[in-house]
Amino acid sequence: MLKALRLRAIGIRLSVMAVILGFVSFGTFIVARLVPGDPAVAVLGVGATPETIRKYRHEFGLDKNLLVQFWDWLTHILRGDFGTSIVHQGVTVGSIIKTAVPVDFELIVLSQILAVAFAIPMALKASRRPNRLFDRLSNVSSFVIWSIPSYVIIIFLLELVSVQWNIGHTGPGSYLGLSFSSWQQTSQNLMSMLIPVVTLAIGSFVSYFRVLRSELIGTLQEDFVTMARSKGMTTRRVMWRHALRPSSVAFVMTAGINIGSLVAGGFVVQFMMQMPGLGYNLVNSITEQDYPVLQGIAFVVAVSIVLVTFLADAIARLLDPRISNGRR
């Protein structure tokens, strides 16, 4: 009975996701087509004859009905074919996405690890004695950091790391793909990741810290914490084993939101660092009016955000069955 209910809940969630995905992909498609400007003119130049423009439009299927175009595009994507760029001759959208995804993946994984590595110990220390010096200081500074835009952080990091300290391979455009073939290549890749990872980590750190701190302050009032303390457990053990564990649901939810927003939200950082990730290519495709690339990347971004949200939700349900039973 319970299992059937849970399966039904998952089914409902999945269909909601499918509707959102359909809507988002149709939305990007329409926005990309309705904005002024003709891609044929943009690619062929103003001097192109009507004949060549007509041929071009026919070749890329731009002369068909919008709904027909959308249907063609969707069915091709479901077969794994994202089409080819209409600005860069012969470059497939699939190849752009294939090179972009590892960049985002590395950025997100490294920045989240860094953010969590600082957020957990600091939240533990702050929540032990709420409203005392460390808690207030960390709370105020996390608030101020929350208000600093990423592009301001990145300029100051660039100034400090790659200009003042003059550390190589850290400036804009120094990105090198991840490869483990030689130590030099790996370290160069990590150096080029330094500034963007730290910038993104600072942003994520604030949300992890604030969520964990308020959760921990609540948990530390619970009877089982008093119980564990009165049994004579060390403070360290109480904090890590008993107090932190109930916060895991909120933590997973925050991670889901953070990762989801970084998939597309990192575009400013990627643009300023000239890193060929999804965000960078998305902005480029917008300014170049490259519809297939724009649609393909927007679709991948939407799918990843939906998947990450779904995954975070599923993990939270596994961690705390009360959520699916509707008691929380």
């Binding site: 988002v24 101020v144 929350w146 300029i155 300023m272």
Partner: protein, 293 residues
């Protein structure tokens, strides 16, 4: 057991403070000064932000009595540029949030109070639009609608902010409409417009103001991001965002000029911190949580 519960309550109250506090007023004063300086900029005896001072010419000049924050690479006064740059940033952020609040807020109050199919449909549409990254839509439309003017920014950013305001105001209206005094007014025979203006709006506006302020802060940040993509106002017009984008080129030797970077950053970040602090405080003061929406 009673004693225990009391101690718990006291500590929790200490954590979630209910006072506005002195920092709130410091932030409010800072916002007032920045806004007043931006509005009154032509009349408070500032050097011109665009005309170069040839009598006292200095390129990348240091901080001095004549040029408080130094001069930029074109010999223009940085202090004047920061104050004048705030004009477009503030115009765009306040303007777009006003537009979003007027349309989104009005629609939300009527939809939520009337209820029924109209409310269900509009809420579903707004939720779906929220699933769409608004910043990317703004970038897409702006890049096809060059050159950017403050009016276009207000229009596009304002429209993109409607769904969020709609959801927040709708939640607050639903909560307010359930109150006994609204029912009492209804029973006394008050007409719908009277109930909305006399009962609902006074209950909803604190929430709306808190989100309005947070929204202004996030639009200022968004304007900066657009400037980095070259999509904000075009030269010779300038905003905080475009000042930062100019300064970005000036961190590398031999043409370093930190005054161009530090002062606009400081002014902008302090302003955003103040807005966020006030918005956050108001939100917790009036006790609105996301969970209640």
């Amino acid at each position: 057991m009673d004693v225990d519960n009391k101690t718990v309550e006291v500590t929790l109250e200490n954590v979630v403070t209910k006072k506005l506090g002195p920092v709130f007023w410091i932030c409010a004063v800072w916002i007032a000064i920045t806004v007043a300086a931006a509005i009154l900029a032509p009349w408070i005896g500032l050097p011109s932000p665009t005309v170069v001072d040839y009598n006292n010419f200095s390129m990348n000049g240091p901080m001095s009595a004549a040029h408080w924050f130094g001069t930029n690479d074109g010999g223009q006064d940085i202090f004047a540029r920061v104050v004048y740059g705030a004009r477009i940033s503030l115009e765009v952020s306040f303007g777009s949030m006003l537009l979003a609040s007027l349309i989104g807020g009005t629609a939300a109050i009527f939809a939520a109070y009337k209820g029924g199919i109209l409310d269900t449909i509009s809420n579903a549409v707004m939720t779906l639009i929220l699933a769409f990254p608004a910043a990317l839509a703004v970038i897409a439309i702006l890049s096809f609608w060059m050159p950017t003017t403050p009016f276009k920014l207000i229009l596009i950013v304002g429209i993109s902010g409607i769904p969020l305001i709609f959801r927040v105001v709708r939640g607050a209206t639903l909560a307010a409409a359930r109150k006994e005094y609204v029912l009492a007014a209804h029973v006394q025979g008050a007409k719908t417009p009277r109930i909305i203006f006399k009962e609902i709006i006074p209950a909803v506006w604190p929430t709306a103001v808190a989100f309005f302020i947070l929204g202004v802060a996030s639009v200022i940040m968004l304007e900066g991001a657009l400037a980095f993509l070259g999509l904000s106002v075009q030269s010779p017009a300038f905003s905080w965002g475009t000042l930062l984008n100019e300064a970005r080129q000036k961190i590398y030797p031999p043409n370093q000029n930190f005054n161009m970077l530090v002062w606009p950053c400081l002014d902008m970040v302090l302003f955003i911190v103040s807005l966020n602090f006030i918005g956050d405080r108001l939100r917790s003061y009036f006790d609105v949580t996301e969970g209640k929406l």
